[in-house]
């Protein structure tokens, strides 16, 4: 077996839980299932690591025009997002910064495209999680100062806030997977945030889940 060239920021924490199955074909490797109870935990509060998904970032006054010229559907409102055709998403963070996540063909295109004036690449080495389940709002209320139930009414909105003291980007998605909150944070805070969220989720009757429980 070839050694992976990149790892999730929480790779060691995932392996410490002895996952039942993992996909070593993606970089970083992704956990597909921890044990036979993933689905039960996902129904209460489940947390999955999605750090393996490809992502790219760009910012600057010319970023919106540059992305539009590459054929991407650029969200017009600050702090909003939209889906891409192959299941990924593009998010507008604030006024002039963008995050593209989940579609390798598009992120590769962005990484290789020539930069235009006023476009600056953003290195995205985030830890990325998905939160799902009936009691997920209880977890969010314990860790954030924002009422995320407002996202139900505004599905294209995303929120940049502080979760357990860590700056995060959060949106609520119902597409392609189980309805869940997608979350990104700086990778160096990933282990702390993962341990904190899993601890709270376990108190609520849930816990970490593999990707198969989200599908």
């Amino acid at each position: 077996m070839n050694a992976p060239v990149s790892l999730s920021p929480i790779h060691d924490a995932l392996l410490a839980r002895n996952p039942l199955s993992a996909d070593w074909s993606v970089m970083p490797p992704a956990v597909l299932g921890f044990d036979g109870d993933d689905a039960q935990r996902a129904a209460v509060v489940g947390i999955a690591d999605l750090s393996h998904l490809p992502r790219a970032g760009a910012k600057g006054p010319g970023a919106a025009g540059w992305l539009a010229a590459l054929g991407l559907p650029v969200p017009q409102q600050p702090n909003s997002w939209t889906t891409l055709t192959d299941g990924g998403l593009i998010a507008r963070l604030g006024l002039t910064e963008f995050l593209v996540d989940g579609d390798a063909s598009i992120t590769d295109t962005l990484m290789q495209a020539g930069r235009a004036a006023g476009v600056y690449p953003v290195l995205r080495q985030d830890a990325s999680f998905a939160l799902c389940g009936a009691r997920v709002n209880e977890l969010l209320l314990q860790t954030c100062n924002v009422d995320f139930r407002t996202l139900d009414a505004e599905p294209s909105k995303l929120i940049l806030t502080s979760m357990a003291g860590v700056g995060v980007t959060i949106l609520y998605t119902r597409t392609s997977m189980l309805p869940c909150h997608r979350l990104w944070c700086d990778g160096t805070y990933g282990l702390y945030l993962w341990d904190t969220l899993v601890g709270i989720a376990e108190e609520l009757g849930g816990g970490c889940i593999g990707l198969n429980a989200l599908r």
């Binding site: 600050p78 702090n79 963070l93 604030g94 006024l95 100062n145 924002v146 929120i159 940049l160 806030t161 502080s162 700056g167 995060v168």
Partner: protein, 85 residues
């Protein structure tokens, strides 16, 4: 909990923000006197009143201007640089 309104992200607890000091117009170093320059570099006005200040929403790195009454500890207005006056 104190609430401050970020011009981009909306009302948030003040713990998500940090303060970066009063906005103080810089005198032209080529034309001002030494006393004016020294006053700008070394002196700060601590008297309470309505002041314009730099603040940043740390989780989105949004820099903006706050008009704040430091005597009554009230935020009067927040806006992005360039929307001023």
């Amino acid at each position: 909990m104190k609430i401050m309104t970020c011009p981009v992200n909306g009302p948030r607890p003040v713990s998500e923000f940090f303060y970066w000091g009063e906005i103080r117009p810089m005198p032209d170093p080529d034309t001002c006197s030494d006393d004016e320059w020294a006053d700008y570099v070394f002196n700060r006005n601590g008297a309470p009143g309505v002041k314009k200040e730099w603040w940043c929403h740390s989780t989105s790195n949004t820099w903006f201007i706050v008009e704040r009454d430091t005597e009554k500890d009230m935020v009067l207005r927040t806006y992005l640089y360039g929307e001023a006056a």
